[in-house]
Symmetry: C2
């Protein structure tokens, strides 16, 4: 009898509600750069990260929260009224330790809210900097998993898919997987895992962000286990499990 839990990958927030996420762990993936920045800030000692989807709410929560940082970018520039940007490089321990990061993200936060509304049992965030922490957690829990790619304005993107593939490649023996998205994601990861920093130069998101001089940032975002903690969403904040 096969009683392994089931794993699916979804390639855009628009496809999430096709799947039953109740009793599932949903992994929010936004490699460039929200979930890379979240892992990094928490790894470097941030007390918590509060993801919000609009600037007004970011400012409001920043004002209401002692010892907090407000962060968000549009078109590679810090948004007016916020203090910081979306780059993981902005959050070394010397700066972020003990603070609360209130972070505006569009793609990732939207997905997180859909997952919660649809009854996800647990929401965690993943990117290459915390790949092993995500995989170790999923293997231990013995629950159904949805790897949820944030995409870019609902359009499929490769960097999130590659991360989903990296996870699948490491944990597939523990799951039942009948899902073409997952099969594709793992194959794309296997095809490029030894040249990830070159391959990402071919993605549309690279071209969008490299125009703002963010090449080093993007290379960091596909570096495995450099901020290896597990962010879990509880009471509207992300904290280390």
């Amino acid at each position: 009898m096969n009683n392994k839990p089931v794993l699916h990958t979804i390639l855009s927030p628009r496809l999430l509600d096709i799947y039953d996420v109740s009793n599932s762990i949903v992994v929010i993936i936004d490699v460039f750069r929200a979930t890379s920045t979240i892992a990094t800030a928490l790894f470097n000692g941030a007390a918590k990260v509060i993801p919000v989807n609009d600037v007004a709410k970011c400012i409001e929560l920043g004002n209401a929260t002692p010892n907090s940082i407000t962060a968000g970018e549009r078109d590679g520039k810090i948004i007016d009224g916020l203090s910081n940007g979306n780059s993981p490089a902005e959050y070394p321990r010397s700066f972020i330790e003990g603070k609360t990061l209130v972070l505006t993200t569009t793609n990732g936060t939207k997905l997180l809210h859909i997952a919660l509304k649809n009854g996800a049992d647990e929401v965690i965030t993943g990117s290459f900097p915390n790949l092993s922490a995500v995989c170790d957690h999923l293997k231990l829990q013995n629950k159904n998993v949805v790897l949820a790619c944030s995409a870019w304005k609902d359009k499929f993107n490769l960097e999130d898919t590659l991360f989903a593939g990296a996870v699948i490649n490491r944990i597939k023996e523990n799951f039942t997987i009948h899902c073409d998205s997952s099969l594709m994601a793992e194959e794309m990861y296997l095809l490029h895992k030894h040249e990830m920093k070159n391959f990402i130069r071919r993605t549309t998101h690279w071209h969008r962000l490299a125009a703002f001089g963010l090449e080093k940032d993007l290379e960091y975002c596909v570096s495995e286990d450099v901020a290896n903690i597990l962010p879990v969403y509880k009471n509207e904040t992300l904290i280390i499990l």
Copy 2:
């Protein structure tokens, strides 16, 4: 100056309206099996194919159209009230020549209607049996192109993606392509083009349909240029251009 037309690939009907399809040729792709069957029926002399998305309309149009065949399946069986199924093998010249095929398809017809509603300039259908005809047409037209995968109940599928990749691989020099879906589709095609009939055994759709003894059908659907005509949608019917 780069004035090549633009090509995008969309991986599910739910993602079509993110893209501007006005002034574009939309290629409807439903490899298993609607667009393979459509190419085959027209190649074998069908006068036209009328795609409809529900059974009642199929029966109504069948009754209203002289010398017509009604066709559709659910779960591998011919739908009650219709005369034929969805298999390309059911439409040899000896049977279909001169007839009108009224075909119920769910995934492909839905996509076709979204494309028309959103102002597509032209809608054609493609699958491996008419790969070259599709590519030759797209190269000649010098218009923007959207390769639209029908997917399965809105879920990403590999067989439609592989066909999109085959098209991209043959026509990419004629287009501007900044689209992660297209990059992925071409890479998946290149990875598997020499073992397509084996690889499709790993897809979810194979497992769904092979249970009904359709292995030969599915192998036919990934055979290149075996029914090499171009179906174009005009006045609610598909005819050979």
